[in-house]
Amino acid sequence: MDQQLAKAIISKLGATGTPPEFGIETFTIGLEPYLAVVEEEYLKGILPYNLSSFKLITGNYGGGKTHFLYSVRNLAFRHNYCVAYVSLNPSECPFDRLELVYRAIVANLAAPQPVDRPAPVWEKGIESVVRRWVVQSRKAADRKEVLLRQLDELPVTESTSFSNAVKGAFSALLAEDGEGFSQLVQWLKGEDIAREVRAQYRISERVDKATAFRMLRSLIQWVHAIGYAGLVFLFDEAERGMSISSSRDKRRALDNLRQLVDECGNSRLPGAMFFYAIPDENLLLDGSGGVYEALKQRLRSVFSQTNPVGVRINLEELGIEPVEFLVGLGTKLAELFEAAYGGRLPEEKSRAISILAKRAVSAFMFDISYRRLFVVAAIEAFHRLRAEPGTVIDGKEADRLLRVTSQRLGQADREKVEGEEY
């Protein structure tokens, strides 16, 4: 692996314990059985038959949800799916405000791309997908009239306005009309545009809470129509709490979720797969502020190799003992660390990994998952072993490392929350 890339991965993991967007396979462990089912049963299985599916990912805070979602994203790219990874949060993208969720989806829409290195930021968003569509269409047929005829033959999506907007954006790019393209992309992103531009391109709708679902379906239909296998949505409730705050918001969010679940399977969402990752299913499905039993029942079945139609994927139960999981993870991280800094770590690394793994597992009830604690503490231990090869990481030192890590991550969390409040 490229040394700088390895260093970038180690740096991200060592600072916060959160995974980088690239190179995720270099330290993936235990997810293979789940990913194999997602790939075989869905990406290669039913989705190409214009079906759709919904999965609920549950896992503690710092327990590998984002890692899992990035892994799914990489698989989806390999099978020619577009992907929208959306980090849900209460201020910018709460799940009860579907029009904001739609905006976040189109802003994060990505066509298949290499996953072993950081993707340039401009390769994200509906604008880049439209541009790529034009480039690829041009490669296939260079004559403008052929391209425009193909555009005319493109199936109309559920929202005619959406269809007109993407077709208009295509034509504008062909005609090298930068201004027109920019206006249409602005509309596709859910922003307002001038009335005359809407009239020019026969756009009669706005993206708001009444139309957001239709726009979402139209987006899926369009992505499918322009040659991709489908669209994979990765919703990540990445915050400690949920993006939903009040009881009323919760009801709306759960209604949105129920509608999404119910729509999966019908032909209006060809090739779409939704993953919704939450830190605590009880926050969403139980507890105070109302419980939506109808949705709970729909999400009750457990996904596994033997039951691929199950809805709930529990990342706390990977079928591998926690210590064994951490030792495997630590070994991969050590290899990555050695690639990042050149040279071999002293043999003490194996003992350090083993001790840290055992101690971290006993701290399973911390407010931060033992997995994230382990990752950050292990990387700190590797740095120490590299700087002072004679260092001994015994039980006491492992406890100290975990404790300091727990305090540091906890403090960072608190600062983040306070920063959002004011």
């Binding site: 830190p279 507890g287 039993e293 009830m365 911390f366």
Partner: protein, 294 residues
């Protein structure tokens, strides 16, 4: 001289108060980590008294000690956080209660608890933060564990036999049907039937003299647990064959008087129910309804 005497008396009184608090504080130092939150509270009291102390070398020494102790408390609170979950899990697992979840909310069997480290307190709930059972419980793992174990045992020991509950519920339902002029098969609020069940289960003595002393209580948490057992028993008597409970809508679940959370299993997963009915035909089951006999 009078002024001097008054100042000396004031210093003596202040010293005595501080000394008394320090003696109490010394007791807490026998287990500094587990008492970290109690020490914080006690030290705040000492600190207040020290601030009122006349300006002197003694006051400076006391203030320095308070500052050093505050720093030590912060360290011990972190130490406590580090060990809290593990100690609690060990204590509960000895009693067969498996702890799951992530701080600040943990689940132990059918109970859950919300931990507030800043306040040094916890709230214990029945179900996933459904019914508040006890608030402001001290963050002492052994005490928390013994409270949960005691409740868990009490629910089992006081549990009504499923056959008896089914009989009482059937009778209670019939009463509600008659009172309201409803046809058998109609849905009635579950909590309304609970009220009838409570009346039906009262001893003869209560009927003769309905005083508080003779009243046999039946809290909703026990009803919830007994319904769980009834659902799970599969040994229902003839009279209960047609009892059905109906899943609550979202709005009903926000109102304690309209819905009851009932566990589905020992791990604390559960369902809210709001209505109950007595089926006309035992094999008639509609979607979303749970026949108790099933």
């Amino acid at each position: 001289m009078e002024g001097l005497l008054a100042r000396l008396n004031s210093v003596a009184a202040g010293s005595q108060k501080v000394a008394k608090r320090l003696v109490a504080y010394r007791m807490l130092l026998t287990d500094p980590v587990n008492n970290a939150f109690a020490r914080e509270k006690a030290l705040a009291g000492v600190s207040g008294l020290v601030n009122q102390f006349p300006d002197s070398e003694l006051r400076e020494v006391l203030a320095e000690w308070v500052a050093a102790e505050q720093a030590a408390i912060e360290r011990d609170k972190e130490e406590f956080r580090f060990g809290f979950g593990t100690q609690l899990a060990q204590a509960l697992e000895q009693a067969g209660l498996k702890v799951r979840g992530q701080l600040p909310v943990l689940r132990a069997g059918m109970f859950s608890l919300r931990v507030d480290f800043a306040a040094g307190k916890a709230v214990i709930f029945w179900g996933p933060e459904v019914e508040r059972l006890k608030e402001s419980v001290r963050l002492v793992p052994a005490e928390l564990a013994s409270t949960l174990i005691r409740w868990s045992r009490s629910l089992k020991e006081k549990s009504m036999e499923p056959e008896r509950l089914a009989r009482l519920m059937t009778e209670g339902l019939r009463r509600v049907y008659v009172q309201r002029g409803l046809e058998p098969g109609s849905r009635v609020p579950l909590l309304e039937v609970l009220a009838e069940v409570v009346l039906l289960m009262q001893p003869k003595g209560f009927r003769a003299d309905p005083s508080r002393e003779k009243f046999v209580e039946y809290p909703r948490v026990r009803f919830s647990y007994d319904l769980f057992r009834l659902k799970a028993s599969g040994q229902l008597g003839q009279a209960s064959a047609g009892i059905r409970v109906h899943v609550a809508t979202f709005d009903k679940t926000t109102d304690k008087t309209s819905a009851l959370w009932v566990p589905d299993n020992e791990e604390g997963e559960g369902t809210y129910y709001s209505y109950i009915s007595l089926a006309v035909r035992a094999n008639e089951v509609t979607e979303g309804d749970t026949p108790v006999s099933g």
